[in-house]
């Protein structure tokens, strides 16, 4: 029978499991993101560097292509921690750009017309709401960070001999852990800016500002006051420090792993607090 003829009937059947209900939010957010052409274009653009890296790996593993060249050249073509760090640095920039484009549309539409009361009057907690919204962004950012990174490592492992995989297993673990930390930070920044800034353009600018302006400020603080605590407000340097430690590469000068981790933890805590203050079902005037 047609819906308009049937009339309203109260549903009394079985309910969906809790996790299935929560997946509605990331699915819906993902649908919204995929409708934005500019996000799709940037996603395609961010695949260029992994493709170039894949080509590099291919060349590095086919000695017959550069057999006439000297030994220094073969060192340059080594697939090691330095290679993966370069890959991570470039892809992290793309991930920030993607977050600046996609992030602002995640929470602000719900906040704009006091829609949060409708979400939180349903069996969903604030933490679950944040995690569900974050999941869409994490999925998007994963596509340009650790997923292509793992593909590159698998490709290298397949082309090189088993000894390479045994000697460099740390690269895989470091890449995944390092990018997970990074993606979590970027997603938190994007959500917090979406929660606090109503206008999408400005919210996007805030995301870019957090990473690039704050990093500049950190470097300036270190240079002007001749201190090292400027690193605490430099997300790019802190993340790079952690990646270096994970990859077994040399840490940047003047930065310890503890400082880098403390810096990231501090930023994460502040961003979580910003979200907690903003994402409430009702504004309480005390």
């Amino acid at each position: 029978m047609a819906v308009y003829k049937r009339g309203y009937q109260r549903y009394e059947g079985p309910r969906a499991p809790h996790l299935e209900r929560l997946l509605v939010l990331p699915r819906q957010a993902w649908r919204r993101l995929s409708e934005q052409r500019i996000v799709t274009a940037l996603l395609a653009l961010s695949c260029i560097w992994p493709l170039l890296c894949a080509l590099f790996i291919y060349i590095a593993n086919h000695t017959e292509l550069w057999g006439g060249l000297d030994g220094d050249f073969s060192k340059m073509l080594a697939i090691d921690g330095a290679f993966m760090l370069t890959f991570m640095k470039v892809q992290s920039v793309f991930s920030v750009l993607l977050a600046a484009l996609a992030g602002p549309g995640l929470v602000s539409p719900d906040l704009g017309n006091q829609g949060l009361a409708l979400y939180f009057s349903r069996p969903i907690s604030r933490l679950e709401y944040v995690l569900a919204k974050m999941a869409a962004l994490v999925w998007l950012l994963s596509l340009v960070t650790w997923v292509p990174g793992i593909v590159l490592l698998l490709m290298q492992a397949a082309m090189a001999d088993t000894s390479w995989a045994l000697a460099n297993w740390r690269l895989g673990a470091g890449l995944v852990l390092g990018f997970w930390l990074w993606v979590a930070l970027v997603a938190l920044v994007a959500l917090a800016s979406s929660a606090w800034v109503r206008w999408r353009l400005i919210a996007g600018a805030v995301v870019l500002g957090f990473f690039f302006v704050l990093s500049g400020v950190g470097v300036l603080v270190n240079a002007i006051f001749r201190v090292e605590w400027g690193d605490l407000i430099n997300p790019l340097r802190a993340a790079y420090g952690v990646w270096c430690a994970l990859m077994g590469a040399e840490m940047p000068a003047g930065l310890s792993l503890a400082t880098a981790l403390a810096s990231l933890a501090l930023m994460g805590a502040l961003l979580s607090l910003a979200l907690e203050r903003r994402l409430r079902p009702v504004e309480v005037v005390r």
């Binding site: 049937r6 009339g7 109260r10 549903y11 969906a16 719900d110 409708l118 009057s121 005390r286």
Partner: protein, 329 residues
Amino acid sequence: MPQPVVELDDLHVSLGRREILHGISCRLGVSGSGRAIGLLGPNGAGKSTLIRTLLGFHTPSSGRARVLGFDCHKNRRRVLERIGYMPETDSFVASMTGVEFLRVMGSLSGLPEEIALEKAHETLFHVGLGEARYRTLGTYSLGMRQMARLAQAIVHGPELVILDEPTNGLDPTARRRMLELIRQMKDDHGMSVIVCSHLLADVEQVCDEVLILKDGCMIHHADLEAERRENRRFVELEVEGDSTAFAAALEAVGAVCVAESPGRFRIVLPLDFEMARLWKLAADHGLSVRRLTQRRDTLEEIFMKAMGLLRQTPGEAASSQEAPAYGGL
């Protein structure tokens, strides 16, 4: 055993250092009976705070609030699975279409995916938004958005629907439609409904019981249905002619009759007394009936009395000999 829809036990709620609800205790409604409960009170009485506490938005500082047998704080998820909430403020997600909005809200409340879509369409037609269901909510008029908010509250078929000022800002036709939908919710679908409103006429029209709050305290809880039933027995009568014998005849059939002045009576009729008998009795004594009024203790009077603005309802003095006013005001 039927349980109350809402059970408050010495409920105290504080926001910051200020206590908003000061020890409210009561039992409202009966689950599954399809009754509507009106929540009344002046601004700042604590109505919204009470509703938000039931929804788990505020934590009680002491005491307990239970909805459908579950503690609102400790079993928040189980409570919210059974509730539909229509907020007072204009709440919507402007970029979603009506169907998408209801589908998401239904799914979050536990409807399986394919059923959520079906229910979204069904509910939108039910509230009169069938033709506008593929338009984004941002393009809806105020009245349409109000209906969309009602739709999201009932899309998952909750046992209890909480409506905060449902008729605010609606034109008379839309208001009538909203009240009719509320009536259908309780009568046709067996949902319990809590209506929080400043409009006494609206509450009177759809509610079976009322809770009146003032300054964070419960000052009256009345069963409107019982009150209406009781009120049918009180009659004010004005007749022309010699009424002495008529008064005696009324006493003889079991009525309590007080003569206010010659020809003017306040009468408490016995139960099961047909009004036609009163007309016949007057005719038998050769009296012409000039005025016959059945006392109707309006919600406005109940509210005014609860607020301390009215000492007694007209006709209450006569009735007090037989039956005390309901709710013990």
